[in-house]
């Protein structure tokens, strides 16, 4: 009986050319009703481009799409939504100055009164057990919380096809478990789901079918439940995946970064105050900070990078020198580089060329500026060096940061900071959105840096990543940092309990934390 029903969405021969890049090359596949269909591929394989065409944001250069058997005529997202296509973007399109509810209202096509809308939003939040305060201003939300707005926005449509472009890269394990329940429920009600993720164990757990893209072409189709994460990753990259070698006998040296009693008021109404945070990181040590988004990670990163000043100079010590109230440039010169979680507009300027994005943070350490003058050729060389060493897919140092795929921009930013060989590197979400191969590469680069004597702080929501990389681990919750523990002896249950929840959510969900078999780590991380 299923066979008589036309697929929900069918694509034939979809092709899309960007200047210098063939992003999609004759892509054909179909998504059945009620199917959870994974779209896999390396960074820059063309996944986001493909789904943007389904959602009517871009037009294919060639090829056709069929919706329930009839030609798909969505000329813009509004029409796509009317057909029942919902989408959660990799990069969110939210208005910073507006509240959650106002943002949702802007994305809705029907004229619902704000009270009725709020009731609907609260219904959805409750039904899918998502935590979000409809009246908070978006600029005060963490990336994870912003992602939740997009998910709610899509769910409000009662979609027939829900497209999710890396929806879980910034969700907590608890939220992921919850989201999967939601998605399965949606699928059982007949909604098809097109799911893009680099987390292959999630794909295995959730998806019925997977289509694999490489270089814009469909190279394989498989049943994830019959594959291992490693075998899928190898299909994606078309080669072997190397496991990260965590330099077994790393020697810790002097304390490079010492934070003593760092307290900061809430930067804005919904910021998280940092309360008496103390920790120290030695040369050669990787210090992991776990925690649910919105518990002070951004504030901590800003205090370390210098975007926020501590109350006294001595609160933060870098290689023995007090820097608590010095500017970001001063700290960089003294050896501290930092990467915030938001890439577009914070860690990088989308409209700037990669060369100029290099100047942004590397101008002192890589001497890209001399007596106030920009050294243009040096900055292009530096960008080219990053592109080559970190395998960034870009048309060159003149390409704008905004034209890179999500994972490639992340690789570029990581490369930019790592190639400055700072004494101390503080990174938020180092592998957010990068594919398995690139994640392994970044992890290896971090481990090598530590081996060479840098002190590294990794702030991440990805426990697997932290467990695989860090020597020492702390958990941040509501602005309080737990006592550091040795990763060797840490128990997942304990970490889960410490992680607590978002904004007062209780810790009982910690039990649902996944514990993954060791073998998965190399691939998953």
């Amino acid at each position: 009986m299923q066979n008589e029903v036309p697929p929900r969405l069918e694509m034939t021969g979809i092709t899309k050319q960007f200047p210098g890049v063939l992003a999609n090359d004759d892509v054909s596949f179909a998504i059945k009703r009620g199917e959870i269909h994974a779209l896999l591929g390396e960074n820059g394989a063309g996944k986001s481009t493909l789904v943007k065409m389904i959602y009517g944001i871009m037009r294919p250069d060639a090829g056709e799409m069929f919706w329930d058997g009839a030609p798909l005529k969505a000329r813009n997202p509004k029409e796509a939504r009317r057909l029942g296509i919902g989408m959660v973007f990799q990069h969110f399109s939210l208005f910073e100055a507006l509240t959650v509810l106002e943002n949702i209202a802007l994305g809705m096509d029907g004229g619902l009164s704000s009270r009725a809308l709020e009731a609907r939003v609260r219904e959805v939040l409750k039904a899918y057990k998502l935590t979000l305060d409809p009246h908070r201003v978006v600029s005060t939300l963490s990336v994870g919380e912003r992602q939740r707005i997009e998910i709610v926005r899509a769910l409000l449509l009662n979609p027939k096809l829900l497209i999710m472009d890396e929806p879980t890269s910034v969700l907590t394990p608890q939220e992921v478990t919850q989201l999967f329940k939601t998605l399965r429920q949606l699928a059982s009600e007949g909604c098809s789901i097109l799911y893009i993720s680099h987390k292959l164990n999630e794909i295995k757990e959730l998806c019925d079918t997977a289509t694999i893209l490489r270089g814009g072409k469909v190279v394989d189709e498989c049943d994830p439940s019959k594959e291992t994460s490693k075998s899928m990753a190898e299909k994606m990259i078309g080669g072997d995946l190397k496991a990260v070698a965590k330099g077994a006998e790393r020697q810790f040296g002097e304390v490079q970064l010492a934070v003593r009693g760092l307290s900061l008021g809430r930067g804005h109404d919904f910021g998280t105050a940092l309360k008496d945070i103390s920790f120290s990181v030695h040369s050669g040590e990787i210090f992991g900070i776990a925690g649910v988004a919105g518990n002070g990670q951004n504030e901590l990163l800003a205090a370390l990078s210098g975007e926020q000043h501590a109350k006294a100079d001595g609160v933060i010590e870098l290689c023995g020198k007090p820097v608590g109230t010095s500017e970001p440039s001063t700290r960089r010169k003294a050896g501290l580089c930092a990467v915030p979680e938001e890439r577009h507009g914070h860690a990088a300027v989308p409209d700037y060329s990669l060369a100029n994005n290099g100047i942004l943070t590397a101008r002192h350490r890589r001497e890209l500026v001399r007596s106030g003058l920009i050294k243009h050729s040096a900055s292009h060389d530096f960008a080219d060096e990053i592109i080559a060493e970190f395998g960034v897919m870009a048309t060159g140092s003149k390409a704008t940061a905004g034209s890179l795929s999500g994972g490639n921009l992340q690789k570029f930013i990581m490369g930019r900071e790592i190639l400055q060989t700072p004494e101390v590197l503080v990174i938020s979400q180092p592998t957010w959105g990068v594919d398995a191969g690139a994640a392994a590469f970044i992890h290896q680069a971090l481990v090598d840096m530590a081996q060479a004597g840098s002190a590294i702080v990794i702030i991440s929501q990805d426990l697997d990543e932290l467990l695989a990389l860090s020597d020492t681990l702390s958990v941040i919750n509501e602005g309080v940092l737990s006592a550091p523990m040795d990763v060797e002896n840490a128990s997942i249950e304990e970490i889960g309990l410490l992680m607590g929840g978002v904004h007062g959510e209780t810790a009982d969900s910690a039990k649902t934390l996944p514990t993954k078999p060791e073998a998965e780590h190399a691939v998953q991380v």
Partner: protein
């Protein structure tokens, strides 16, 4: 068939430079049509306003005189606009700059020496910068929107000017005319071309544009201005202080407006009079945008706007076009330019309903 806007991946460079040109050409076409419809010689209006100043070599010196202040102020404004600081009160800073220079001139009335003009220049720059300091600090300290404060202070400046020339600065020998004494030779700009009215303002405008070009494209300061303006969070992360940048951007735009004021006072006017405010400060806003907020673009845009001013005067006498016509042409130019800007960021896509394909 339908049309819609699709965001361009990278704004096309050719379009970036083509739109200002297109805006000017379209202004001529629409202007000719509109003035014909309302009963004037539309073609003649366009000819007199846009071409006579170029074809009649007697008018070239007028162009240089008019373009200089527009360029100097426009360059300053464009630097501010790039930092996302919206100083629209350059007219006020121009007046105060002129007054500060006049103050120096009145103090040095009976003196002579090469140092007087530079001193007047410094006074002009300082006056313009000091006048914008008020909005600058209000913006940085209290987050008061600089659009309002800079604009409102323009009217204050006009009143200060009137107070001075009708009162304490009035020349004792002017037979009741509200004006200061005429500047002496050491207080007046030299003529750079014999037998013309072109004074030192024109070469200074070119130098200002070239220096600004260098600073904005080659120095980290220009990079800082652009970054703070286009991505404030990234700027903070990069270690560029937003407040310092805003202050500097405002001081530069105020200072250059003040310099233009000094050059006008010590140049064409030769003394301070109530007619000193000549809307250069406002017209320079159009110049800045028409020049794509790029110093060299501003140089050309300043000349284009100067053409309309000079041409407007020609058209008044030759075909009795009202003076307001020039304003209409200038406004039309800005409007068409801004409309064209949308086409730079977005491309119009013709959507053919049939197969769900696109035709661009």
């Amino acid at each position: 068939m339908q049309f819609r806007f699709e965001k361009r991946a990278e704004p096309s460079r050719i379009m970036l430079y083509a739109t200002p040109v297109a805006a000017v050409l379209l202004t001529m076409v629409l202007g000719a049509i509109i003035f014909t419809i309302i009963g004037y010689d539309g073609i003649g209006a366009v000819r007199e306003i846009f071409f006579t100043p170029l074809t009649n070599s007697l008018k070239w010196q007028d162009l240089a005189v008019k373009a200089a202040p527009l360029i100097i102020i426009g360059v300053g404004l464009s630097i501010g606009y790039r930092a996302n600081v919206w100083n629209i009160g350059a007219e006020g800073q121009y007046i105060i700059g002129g007054l500060a220079a006049t103050g120096v001139a009145l103090l040095t009335q009976n003196m002579s020496g090469w140092w007087i003009l530079p001193l007047m220049g410094i006074a002009g720059i300082a006056g313009g910068a000091a006048y914008v300091a008020v909005p600058a600090f209000l913006r940085v300290r209290l987050k008061v929107n600089e659009i309002l404060t800079t604009l409102m202070l323009t009217y204050v400046a006009v009143n200060i000017l009137n107070y001075l020339v009708f009162g304490p600065w009035k020349s004792p020998t002017s037979f009741g005319q509200p004006q200061t004494v005429a500047f002496n030779e050491s207080q007046s700009l030299p003529y750079i071309i014999e037998g013309t009215i072109v004074q030192a303002g024109a070469p200074i405008a070119i130098i200002v544009a070239l220096v600004a070009w260098f600073v904005m494209s080659r120095t980290i300061f220009g990079f800082q201005i652009n970054t703070v303006g286009s991505a404030p969070k990234a700027a903070a992360y990069a270690g560029f202080s937003a407040n310092k940048t805003i202050l500097l951007a405002l001081f530069i735009s105020g200072g250059l407006a003040g310099l233009a004021g000094m050059l006008e006072a010590a140049g064409p006017f030769g003394r301070m009079v109530p007619q000193f405010p000549s809307n250069y400060g406002f017209t320079a806003i159009i110049v800045a945008f028409l020049g794509r907020l790029h110093p060299i673009g501003v140089l050309f845009a300043g000349i284009v706007l100067a053409i309309t001013f000079v041409g407007g005067e020609v058209a008044q006498t030759t075909i009795a076009l009202p003076n307001a016509a020039v304003g209409i042409f200038q406004a039309m130019m800005l409007f068409l330019l801004l409309a064209g800007d949308i086409l730079i960021r977005y491309r119009v896509v013709r959507v053919v309903v049939a197969k769900g394909r696109e035709a661009t």
